[in-house]
Amino acid sequence: MSNDNTNQIEIHGVNKKFVIDKKKVDILKDINLEFKKGEFICIVGASGCGKSTLLRMISGLETVEEGEITVGGQKVTQPTLKTGMVFQESRLFPWSNVEKNIEFGITHSKSKKLDKYAKKKLVNSLIELVGLKGFEKAIPKQLSGGMQQRVSIARGLINNPDVLLLDEPFGALDAITRINMQNEILRIWEAEKKTMVLVTHDIDEAIYLGDKVVVLSSRPGTLRKVFNVDLPRERDRNSAEFASIRSKIYKEFFNDVKRKEPEYYI
């Protein structure tokens, strides 16, 4: 479903090491990926495989020491407003209401240009987009987990970024809310035409949402395979095509696990 053929995100030869207990540990190794403009990308991997680290590197929150990541042709060195981010925890300010939380997303320079009325209009349009009309004055503790995540998505979109990065955004939600939110994010994606990169450990979620599903192996995270999901939306999780992609991805994971030494010995 890509809009045109230019690459929005390019990742070339990226390695990442963390220092743990004074030892350098490989987190990501030799990652090469290209995501097209307007694509919905899902990155799946076991926990600890470095998928969130990769996303944080794209966002500029983690430094890129080896290799190069570009977003919209620009080398990533620090967070930019071209990239929005939604975290697993909604990360809202508990003392601010929905409006204020979303308004916080407006950047300093843009905030100066807009008057009160224009800001309110902008915030309201996002509240409408994420389906929270009527909850403008509610504070986070009055909202359910799914609603909090909607606020977080609105805040991530308010600067009209080219790319929205989502780090396990539905990981903490119950199964039913999760499926609702998956449909919501697809609706928003179709309405806003952003490039979205979503990290998840839920294979079904990845197949349901993504144009591409990137499978990472564990410790260090390396690129196992990229699956193209050409199924038309709205996708049927019980269809034969869905199941066949699912079984291919499962196979990647099980092969990965089998090759590994056990993590503990009895």
Partner: protein, 253 residues
């Protein structure tokens, strides 16, 4: 406490034990089972309270204590918040003062009373310094804890959105520190109340602490009890006021 609404029965249960205590106290002293010279009856305490009010002596003592506490608490809180913000924000400042503060903090405020009398005399200054110190440490510690304990995840949101330091401070760090700051203020106000009484008992010619001490010398146990009950009621009232404020200001927790 998140209990459901109280019914009449609950209020009766709450009120029954103090009434019972007062009744027993009255009966025991009336019957002469306890020496009235060291334990006055509730009636005698009330009478003493009335006469202290009528002669204006009560207000004289009470206002003296209240004045000292207001000044001392304010000074201690302002200093505690200011230094707490600095040490909470800047690790280097914290490192600079940590040893000195840890030692000073461990000295009970009451222990410093003679020193401040030596330095400032027995006037208002020494008492106000003592009260300020009685407030200062808990406000400082809790402010610092609140500031440095700001959720790093919220700070990351600000980083992604490229907010400047001023916005981070005013929109995230300060509000995040407020609940902890209030804990400090609550401890601080009770510390202030404790310190004023101690200071007045050791060296003063006015104040509730002085009144209690003087009543002992004059063998007026009823006046002593008026003073003690004042301490209890005022301490409770101060705590309730801060709690009430906290509930309104920190509506999100």
């Amino acid at each position: 406490m998140n209990r459901s609404k109280k019914g009449i029965v609950d209020y009766v249960i709450i009120i029954i034990s103090p009434i019972l205590l007062l009744t027993i106290w009255q009966v025991v002293t009336d019957k002469g089972w306890i020496n009235g010279a060291i334990m006055p009856s509730p009636k005698k305490v009330i009478e003493a309270f009335k006469s202290l009010i009528v002669t204006g002596k009560y207000w004289e003592q009470f206002s003296a204590s209240l004045f000292r506490v207001s000044i001392g608490f304010t000074v201690g809180t302002v200093a505690g918040v200011a230094i707490g913000v600095l040490t909470g924000l800047f690790k280097k400042v914290d490192d600079l003062v940590t040893v000195i503060f840890s030692v000073l903090r461990s000295i009970p405020t009451i222990g410093l009373i003679p020193l401040f009398i030596l330095w400032c005399g027995i006037g208002e200054e020494s008492k106000i310094i003592i009260i300020s110190l009685g407030t200062f440490w808990s406000v400082l510690l809790n402010t610092q804890r609140g500031i440095s304990g700001t959720d790093a995840k919220l700070l990351e949101v600000a980083r992604i959105l490229q907010k400047n330091r001023f916005v981070v401070l005013s929109k995230i760090v300060i509000p995040a520190a407020l609940p902890s700051l209030f804990t400090g203020i609550r401890l601080g106000i009770s510390g202030a109340w404790r310190s004023v009484i101690a200071a007045e008992m050791i060296a003063s010619v006015r104040g509730i602490g002085y009144m209690i001490q003087y009543a002992r010398e004059m063998s007026q146990p009823a006046v002593m009890f008026v003073g003690l009950l004042t301490l209890g009621v005022v301490g409770l009232a101060l705590d309730l006021v801060v709690k009430w404020l906290e509930k309104r200001l920190i509506y999100w927790s």
